[in-house]
């Protein structure tokens, strides 16, 4: 509205009236443009609340119920007078699992959505293009042949994921078709690594093989504070970077040429991929490849947001799904503790199918 102040009076017949009319149109346009954006903001806020609620459910409920007031006491470092054992159970079992699930879910959801959008392929989740398998193969070998314990296991997994990512990067480097080539090499390497895993599984003892199977399914049972600390540090570093990339996601979806033409800085989409690879790699090394979360978070978030891709919504969907699935895996069937990955796949698949079946337009699934 500063415009009519700057306009010399008398240059236009009645500048105020014209400006008012223009601003009326402008306001209508602004309103119309903001409506979908407001929906996305609402969805993100609702999902954030849901994620917090999921963490609270995971920590407070279950076989051993903890009162909210006791939890607050425990978090302040005091021992609740009426439940002296609660402190240990919360700090050593329940809270680490909830936090690890939250962090891993955020990372998987965001990474998956970034891959799917930037590579413009709904199948392009880290599970399929080899990064999780790099981590898996390294972890299975470390677990069965080297008998790795403690932090060595996630370290080995991270090394495997980084090695696969570097190979993919080296192959894609310096071409306009970098994304395509990376994906092709990724699926080839993924097939090779899953063969290696199966080979190791047939050659090792059944005890080791089953431990490896649990890791491969994705499990929060190994949650420890050092792992949570490292993972949250990684997420804190990568999240701002991702925020930068998220702004260009809708342009990246148009493809390399068109998005450059429209003013998206060249290489921004590539940076997004690098961040997504890093996120997927650290999360996988901490929990194992939790089945399906990276794949399903993006489409579900997009559906919630009315067809617009949103990285934050996808990340939060991932967090909610992982934390609640872990809870369900522990208590759904009495006396059976299922790894979280079993539940995300078994219950997430129908959810995903519902999204597919109710999709109203082709391509907006």
């Amino acid at each position: 509205m500063n415009a009519d102040v700057l306009t010399p009076s008398g240059a236009v017949a009645d500048p105020r009236a014209v400006a008012a009319e223009e601003s009326d149109d402008l306001a209508r346009v602004v309103r119309a443009r903001r409506r979908p954006a407001r929906r996305v903001h609402l969805v993100i806020a609702a999902l954030a609340v849901a994620a917090l609620a999921a963490v609270l459910v995971r920590v407070l409920l279950g076989d051993y119920v903890v009162a909210l007031t006791d939890l607050l006491l425990i978090l302040r470092g005091e021992t609740p007078p009426d439940a002296p054992g609660a402190s240990f159970i919360v700090m050593e079992a329940k809270l680490p699992r909830a936090l690890l699930g939250l962090l891993a879910g955020l990372a998987f959801g965001a990474a998956g959505a970034m891959f799917q959008t930037t590579l413009r392929n709904p199948l392009a989740s880290p599970d399929i293009i080899g990064i999780s398998l790099g981590a898996s193969a390294a972890a299975v070998i470390a677990l069965t042949l080297l008998d790795a314990q403690g932090l060595w296991l996630p370290a080995a997994a991270l090394l495997g994921a980084v090695a696969v990512s570097l190979l993919m990067y080296a192959v894609g480097r310096g071409t306009t078709l970098a994304g395509q080539r990376m994906v092709l090499v990724g699926i080839g390497v993924a097939a090779l690594l899953s063969s290696v895993i199966q080979f190791v599984m047939t050659r090792t003892s059944i005890q080791d093989a089953q431990a490896a199977l649990v890791w491969l399914t994705g499990s929060l049972a190994r949650a420890t504070w050092p792992v949570i600390g490292l993972l949250s540090a990684a997420v804190l570093v990568l999240a701002p970077l991702l925020a930068v990339c998220a702004r260009w996601m809708r342009l990246a979806e148009l493809g390399d040429e068109l998005s450059t033409t429209l003013g998206a800085p060249a290489g921004r989409a590539r940076l997004g991929l690098v961040v997504a690879v890093a996120l997927a790699a650290v999360a996988t090394s901490a929990t194992g490849p939790i089945a399906f979360v990276a794949f399903l978070a993006g489409p579900i978030a997009r559906r919630l947001c009315g067809g617009r891709p949103s990285l934050w919504a996808a990340a939060l969907v991932g967090a909610v799904v992982v934390v609640l699935s872990d809870f369900a895996g522990d208590y759904l069937i009495p006396a059976v503790n299922l790894p979280v990955g079993v539940v995300t796949g078994a219950l997430g698949a129908p959810l995903m199918l519902a999204v597919v079946v109710t999709a109203d337009r082709a391509g907006k699934a």
Binding site: V171, V342, G345
Partner: protein, 359 residues
């Protein structure tokens, strides 16, 4: 039309841009470069012969001929040769089935990441075998075959039905997503059972590694009709794949019955992949990568990709199996593993060097 033809004669590195223009020309009868066909067939023959002759005990070609022509009744090697012939037949069937199914699947979904198991076939077969082992105590290969076939079929029908439920019917993207979702769901059910039952997992982990050894000819004969039906269906639908590759609207305007074409291809893929998995267990790499290699070599025309897959698939699988027997004597590395070990470096070099042949 003349430009692409000359390009094509220059061999494998022919320009994909030129191919696209020519290959999709309606009704143009194109000749295949005879050199390529001869080369591929020769490689297949070599693979078949070495697969029978080599192994932990090499058999001289003379003895081999004697046994095969029925002369060698009293020979000590007779049993070995018979086992290897059965193994080779399995390799040819499974290699051809998976590679052709992979090419058809990638054409059907227009997605280079699609593998033939994407319709839920592999996961369905896997879950059925898990149920057979853990609930019904099935322990023999011939028992697994029927369970795996049934599981594969049910999963494929489920995926297709679910993708068709949505408004607008079956579309590539929906088929892809529904297939991936059903696969993940079924695989999770499998691992849920396996994580809690150590005994079942001990049997399952050996089925899970795809291998072509240890299957008798009688088992092959039971599964043979499925391979025949699947191959015929896919080969008949090959021309339709080219139309489908142009997108639904364009295909329809070319007079194609899109729904029928897609259903036919999906049926062929499900039967081929189901039969292969039932016979050999899941072999992942082959169906995914051989079609890409074929596309690099002959361009995007499915009428040429599918025949190349038909010959190259068995060659790779047999070669891998033979190497797997030689490197780990007297034991063996399963074919499912060796295909990937041999194939991946080759594939990476191809992707790095060749031009992208997009779908």
């Amino acid at each position: 039309m003349s430009a692409p033809t000359t390009l094509e004669r220059e061999g494998p590195v022919s320009s994909t841009g030129g191919e696209t223009g020519g290959a999709r020309g309606v009704g143009s009868a194109r000749r295949r470069p005879p050199g390529l066909a001869v080369l591929l067939l020769a490689l297949l023959v070599v693979a078949v012969v070495t697969s029978i002759a080599l192994g932990s005990k090499a058999i001289p070609l003379g003895d081999l001929l004697q046994v095969l022509t029925g002369d060698g009744d009293g020979m000590a090697d007779r049993g070995i040769v018979e086992a290897r012939v059965a193994r080779t037949v399995v390799g040819v069937l499974v290699g051809a089935g998976l590679a052709v199914a992979g090419a058809a699947m990638q054409g059907l979904t227009r997605n280079p990441l699609a593998d033939p198991g994407l319709l839920g076939v592999n996961a369905g077969a896997g879950l059925a075998v898990v149920v057979a082992i853990s609930v019904f105590g099935v322990g023999s290969l011939s028992g697994y075959v029927w369970w795996a076939m049934a599981g594969a079929g049910l999963a494929a029908v489920l995926v297709h039905a679910l993708a068709g439920l949505a408004r607008g019917g079956v579309m590539p993207l929906r088929l892809t997503l529904a297939g991936a979702a059903v696969s993940a769901g079924l695989a999770s059910w499998s691992s849920g059972v396996l994580v809690s039952s150590r005994q079942s997992f001990d049997s399952f982990r050996f089925w899970q590694v795809g291998t072509i050894g240890g299957r008798g000819l009688d088992l092959v004969v039971t599964v043979l009709p499925f391979f025949a039906v699947g191959l015929v269906v896919v080969l008949l639908a090959v021309r339709r794949l080219n139309a489908l590759a142009l997108g639904d609207d364009l295909a329809r305007s070319l007079g194609e019955n899109v729904v029928l074409a897609r259903a036919a291809v999906a049926l062929g893929v499900a039967v081929l992949c189901g039969a292969s998995t039932a016979l050999a267990g899941p072999i992942g790499f082959l169906g995914l990568v051989v079609p890409h290699v074929a596309r690099f070599v002959v361009g995007p025309d499915h009428r040429r990709i599918v025949p190349v897959c038909l010959v190259a698939g068995p060659t790779l699988l047999l070669a891998a199996d033979t190497v797997g027997r030689l490197v780990a004597q007297p034991s063996e590395v399963q074919a499912g593993i060796m295909t990937a070990v041999i194939g991946v470096p080759f594939f990476v070099v191809l992707v790095r060097r060749g031009r992208m042949a997009s779908l």
